[in-house]
Amino acid sequence: MNAARPRPPAALVTLQDVGFGYDRHPVLDGVTLRVETGAFTGVVGPSGSGKTSLLRILLGTAAPQRGQVAIRPGLRVAYVPQLETVNWNFPVTVAECVLMSRPQGIRWPWASPRERVEVHDTLDRLGIADLARRHIRELSGGQQQRMFLARALLRRPELMLLDEPTSGVDVRTRHEVLHLLGDLNEDGLSIVLTTHDLNGVAAHLPHLVALRTRVIAAGHPDEVIRPDVLEATFGADMEVLAHAGMPIVVEGHHRGARTA
């Protein structure tokens, strides 16, 4: 009798040889990728490398021009946008913003008692329950990111996609956000995020994808944060040092730069 083989983790989304572009300009070319259940993946690459297009294809809001995309039927996906893309002057309170993620069907404008409890519990889980009545402009960068995470979590997602979640925030906020995402991942949430921050974010994640129109490398940070992969991805000379078991990326010398 054969011993039962452990089944590989189920794929939430699978991309097979995907191509995508605008006006004949290829943004993604031959991208093959599996987002597994329980994934905590960072997509790294320079500006214009196709990170956001990849997120849109994973979300199902952009259709590939070539290749196959298989999204598990019934998959609940939530998306957290970049903080920079939001109009923070918009007249809305934290609670109003979080409640937006329950838009389906005809509902009364005001929250039902059950929804009020859900919103409070979600905000409480993220440590910002006392800010529910504040205007969104009055929040710090970390609090704004937590509010968007709360809005996404209210959808009870299985997969959360985040576009540059630590862009434009300070070091402390970046730590807070990464810890929070780590906790959510441990609770069973699959996460894919984009980042260009190699030392502050990418090196701390368990799985990376280096993207520059094509997938240059994918795997553990040790397999991706390597000089040859980084040069092919970012087109720049980079050195990788080891510190306390973690890779540290140092930019190579610029031609003509002062060396003394």
Partner: protein, 302 residues
């Protein structure tokens, strides 16, 4: 004092004035309510453009003696759809598309009226608004559009709010953004059409924008902004119509001036601090830009 009160009450003895007052108050309420979405989406120019486009339909309906509401309504909606289609072509922006289509429609309306004369509602009334000639039909049409708008705003409150605040995330969160936007366009076209006679083509954009801006200066809450803007608009309609009668100035003109006075009052009381709240109101991510960014869909590839 009593003579002043008697003078105030005097026009209420005329049925045409009461009907005009009713329509102006409802029109102010309606435009105030919709204006919140218009300014937060950076669509003020669309309100202005659509009113001019509707005028083309008004003139064409007048020339062929066709029902004004049906003719101008179809024309307005067709213009809105044309703007949408042209602006999605990527080569021409939405603002340029509005500029071309709506001003051409307005010019065509004037040309038609100049060539064939006006056989329908007054030309001046369509341009600047009038309290004379408000028929029972107008009252019922404005009341009907107001009720329909309230149903849409209450029933689709969260979808409208989400697609106004963040259309991209709304799209992936189950909101049918394109359908929600089309519904808003429909309601806006109907509102402009219904209020055209009383406020006028050239001034309707102001009744959409000013009460909403006043409300934004007074609150940071979206729900409060909706009712403050509606009440400001209704008050502007009521006071403007009364002043229009007593000063013998076109109704649309007075309604806009009352709204503008409310804006100045809030500005003076707040010492200009409230103006900061209105900054960047047009920072709205046009959902069509997301659609434009997509290549031709090939759903079978998924």
């Amino acid at each position: 004092m009593s003579s002043l009160w008697a003078s105030f009450l005097e026009p209420f003895g005329y049925q045409f004035f009461v009907k005009g007052l009713l329509v102006a108050t409802m029109a102010g309420f309606l435009c105030g309510l919709l204006g919140v979405y218009i300014i937060l989406r950076g669509m003020s120019y669309i309100g202005h453009g659509l009113s001019h486009a509707v005028f083309g339909g008004f003139a064409a309906s007048s020339v062929i003696s066709f029902n004004y509401y049906v003719g101008a309504g179809i024309w307005g909606l067709a213009s809105a759809l044309a703007i949408n289609r042209v602006s999605r072509s990527r080569r021409i922006g939405a603002d340029a598309a509005i500029g071309v289509i709506t001003t051409a429609s307005f010019a065509l309306g004037i040309a038609l009226l100049s060539l064939y004369g006006n056989r329908g509602p007054s030309f001046d009334a369509a341009l600047f608004g009038s309290i004379i000639g408000v028929a029972d039909t107008d009252v019922w049409v404005v009341a009907g559009v107001t009720v329909f708008t309230l149903v849409v705003v209450f029933g689709r409150y969260r979808a409208l709010l989400f697609s106004t605040f963040d259309p991209e995330v709304a799209d992936v969160s189950g909101v049918r953004v394109a359908r929600t936007d089309a519904l808003l366009m429909l309601v806006l076209s109907l509102a402009i059409l219904a209020t055209l006679n009383i406020i006028g083509v050239t001034l309707v954009a102001a009744t959409l924008v000013i009460p909403a801006v006043v409300a934004r200066m007074l609150t940071d809450s979206f729900s409060r902004m909706l009712w403050i803007s509606s009440i400001t608009g209704a008050a502007g309609g009521f006071l403007g119509m009364n002043l229009s009668y007593h000063l013998n100035v076109p109704s649309g003109t007075m309604i806009v001036l009352v709204d503008a006075a409310a804006f100045c009052l809030v500005l003076m009381v707040s010492g200009g601090r409230s103006l900061r709240a209105t900054a960047n109101l047009d920072e709205y991510v046009d959902p069509t830009s997301i659609l434009r960014a997509q290549p031709a869909p090939s759903r079978n590839a998924r």
